[in-house]
């Protein structure tokens, strides 16, 4: 049994992109450094998308050179098309996160292309990247893998098919993403098993939201099926554009508490991680940061 769990902190991207208020680049850099110093080895620092549509991410290119100086940090960035992927590569990103929705309707709304067309874009990005001197890992985020606010239920069989197509297109790793927060534990188990049958260990990660309060229960279901990678967000920031008032990503602090309590190693120092909330709170005073561990304090029984 592999006791190491790889966490990717997506706060600087998924957490900030829908936040009320803008975090200045200098604050982002200080915050990312605090997150890295707390032991997070992989951070999604931003996205290369339209600054008109997502102004919070307009400075991603500017902050990357500074972030790349942080020792031992794997720097991830999101892009939705070849132009963004090239920009991410030029800026020096180690990992590209690329969304492919299982729901054709969501895919069109999110990236302006249906699922199959987006899989072709993925293939073209892989081709382009393979011709470059510097390698860049390309991760496919299989979005709406647990339901879609527009199409409704998403069949598990179709999730595995899209994951297999992303693998054939050349994605290095696959993540299943609960984009709208509809997932529940038995569904997570079913989708993970079907996807493992289709792409094996290339299924490396779950991206879960806490929309219905089930985020960590869903993470536990994934763990039980052998998943050893999770996205999470400090303070549980991030929202769901299709569910106003919904809470965001699973809370990094609480996930670390759960994993370390259970004997998994995350590499994260929980007190230092909690300390990184202060900067986030002061930079985004309108956002309510969540976390049970932050509210109640680390229990005296915690073994880390």
């Amino acid at each position: 049994m592999n006791q190491e769990v790889r966490l990717c902190e997506v706060g600087p991207r998924d957490g900030l992109q829908m936040a009320k208020g803008m975090m200045p680049a200098a604050d982002k850099l200080r915050w990312i450094r605090q997150l890295a110093d707390a032991g997070l080895r992989e951070i999604e620092v931003g996205s290369f998308v339209s600054p008109r549509l997502v102004p919070q991410m307009a400075d991603t290119g500017a902050i990357l050179p500074e972030v790349l100086k942080m020792d031992g940090l794997t720097v991830c960035a999101l892009a939705c098309n070849l132009k963004g992927a090239i920009a991410a590569h030029e800026a020096g990103a180690h990992v590209l996160s690329f969304p492919v929705s299982v729901s054709d309707t969501h895919s069109r709304a999110n990236v302006g292309k249906g699922t199959d067309a987006q899989l072709e874009v993925l293939a073209s990005i892989v081709d382009w990247a393979q011709s470059q001197a510097r390698p860049m890992r390309i991760d496919a985020a299989v979005a709406t893998a647990f339901g879609c606010s527009m199409e409704g239920a998403v069949p598990v069989r179709r999730v595995a098919q899209v994951a297999a197509a992303a693998a054939r297109a050349g994605a290095d790793e696959i993540a299943l993403a609960d984009t709208v927060g509809y997932a529940y534990p038995s569904q997570v188990r079913d989708a993970v098993r079907a996807t493992q049958d289709a792409v094996g260990e290339r299924l490396a990660k779950l991206h879960l939201h806490d929309t219905m309060g089930l985020g960590l229960a869903n993470a536990l279901a994934g763990l039980d099926e052998g998943i050893r990678g999770f996205d999470a967000c400090l303070g549980g920031l991030g929202g769901c554009p299709f569910a106003p008032g919904a809470s965001g990503n699973i809370v990094t602090e609480d996930l670390v508490f759960m994993l370390e309590s259970m004997g998994y190693r995350t590499g994260v120092d929980l007190p230092r991680l909690l300390a990184a909330r202060a900067l986030l709170a002061s930079a985004l005073p309108q956002e309510r940061l969540r976390s049970g561990v932050a509210a109640a304090g680390i229990p005296r029984t915690f073994r880390a």
Copy 2:
């Protein structure tokens, strides 16, 4: 596999006893009726404890006759000693919930007696109840089963010992309670297994808090081990007197969503359950009600 899950709504007792503000008896009755009408078949309606220490529960004796008129409802009440148990029986309670802490220090702080002395009180209550014409089910809540804010870690072996002693004293059912909210999923599994080895199916329920954000993950761990009974609280009310700022019990709404999504039957109508929040919110305006499902809305994929 038993697909029925028995929920006990503890809001009127555990939820209100630490709330800011007092809910008038008439509101309590209207709220309990709404909960029962939503399909909750078991409700802990109050406690027979010192009105000086817990003024919010002073009207429990007064509301019981009205609650007992509600068709098909199993009416539970908490008491910590023989005097309270007799009062609960005289008022007509169907079930007595009786706390026995695994932590001797917590037991003394909570009920003024150590664990062994409290087990003797349990035996005396069982003896007394058996001499009465009307039966009353007696449930032992094995408190601090997953850690204690005063004693720290609580050995699983000791949890099973206290549960076994409660069974020998004559408790009809046993619940393991995460009184201070320190539980994590692998610990829940270990404690449930050890307690099942000791008392078999008499271990009927988990009482979980969401202090560290792990409440539903812990519930899932219990489900996986065959537990088919849970306490929960509408809006996640209830606190932890030893962790200021901590969130309360697991949220009934979100638990019902998880269970029903997974194919378990709770008997609860989720939209009607959500509607019962309005009265609670207006009666206790200072309390923040939690629930992912309430904030985001029931997803269109929900199967119930």
